[in-house]
Symmetry: C2
Subunit: 204 residues, 2 copies
DNA sequence: AATCATATCAAACAAGTGTTTGAAAATCAA
DNA sequence: TTGATTTTCAAACACTTGTTTGATATGATT
């Protein structure tokens, strides 16, 4: 299960702990403890704590499952593409079968960027952003101004990310029981319908 | 401008620095330096760093301007109330005339809650949540299930909070120039129209 | 003026931090 | 095997952290 390679063991452990406690809150001793390696390995495989953090973020982003919808079949209705995008985003945040710290680490970097952010945006955010904007161009009337496209995209992504970034508050507000009943599929359907109606696109 | 009271000076300085760097990232020496007080004042007026943090968060929440729409005139159309709520939320996050660290500190507490969170939810979030849910009850058909009300509220608040929590990413994505042109009024109008159409409420 | 509680201060403390060291062990190539 | 290179390790280092101390100043009360 856990990799033998001490470098990768460090990346995994660092990802978990950085996600949980942030850069300052995490200590290298706790990380090397979980990874089961000597403390000097941090400076051997990475230069210092900061480099370890950056590499851990990139490792987490790479470890993300590939989008299954970078290429839809020709003729796929754009509303269906939008549904796929929304569903996939929510799955990343809420799928209980995948480690929660992956999404958490990336979300942390999005809300309080460090030096790792520039790379993350270029390699991770930009491409996904382009896909969404392309679908919106199909859904909205031609010649829709660039600004309008972005505002719409933010409305969609804002709805999705809310369930990750504000997870603890949601728990407190609706109660633990109700929270457990929030499955990704239901949420995706709600957000999709909400958005399609907002865009004036009839159900498909 | 700045209060004479060392206790309040500490609260202000702590709020700014905690908002910027988080609990672990902020050091008491930097805080007392900005406040211009002796380091022992932290333990004199508050017990320790953690208490200072909690009090700073509460102080920031109290310093928030009172909602001007806790009571609308009788007969106000619910769509107008919704517009007021959305506009006010965005103003809190984006109004350049008010210190940015207030919203930032609260947002930080919402996305990575500490011990200060429970109180914040009770005194700050819950009441505003109830107002929004009440308006949604007016807008949506009677007997709309509780869960549907919450999901709708999350869709609205998610859109608004996105501009605060993901501010740095938005800057990177659309460019600094375009970001400067995102004024709160325009955003509020976009989100309001988006939401009203999603709810199937005709313009008013 | 004398007394007392309150407030401020510089200095030090103990614990924890990231980082480095230099030697030992393991691995590989000749 | 021999020698060279890579990897691992315990120990220590230099520094920052939050916190406490004990003395001094301030201000009100008797």
């Amino acid at each position: 299960m856990t990799p033998e390679n001490p470098r990768e063991r460090l990346l995994e452990a660092a990802g978990e702990i950085f996600a949980e406690k942030g850069f300052k809150g995490a200590t290298v001793r706790e990380i090397i403890d979980r990874a089961g390696v000597n403390i000097a390995a941090v400076n051997y495989y990475f230069r210092d704590k900061e480099r370890l953090y950056i590499e851990a973020v990139k490792h987490a982003a790479c470890g993300e499952p590939e989008e299954p919808h970078l290429s839809w079949p020709e003729g796929t209705p754009p509303a269906g593409k939008l549904r796929d995008i929304i569903r996939f985003q929510l799955l990343k945040f809420l799928d209980p079968s995948r480690p929660a710290w992956l999404a958490r680490l990336i979300m942390r970097e999005l809300t309080q960027p460090s030096d790792a952010c520039a790379e993350l945006v270029r390699e991770y955010i930009e491409p996904r952003s382009k896909v969404l904007l392309g679908v919106l161009r199909e859904l909205l009337p031609p010649n829709t101004p660039r600004r309008k496209l972005f505002l719409t995209a933010f409305s969609i992504v804002g709805q999705c990310h809310f369930y990750c970034s504000h997870k603890p508050i949601i728990r407190l507000l609706i109660g633990e029981d109700e929270y457990q009943r929030l499955d990704p599929a239901t949420l995706a359907e709600h957000i999709t319908q909400f958005t399609l109606r907002a865009l004036g696109v009839e159900k498909n």
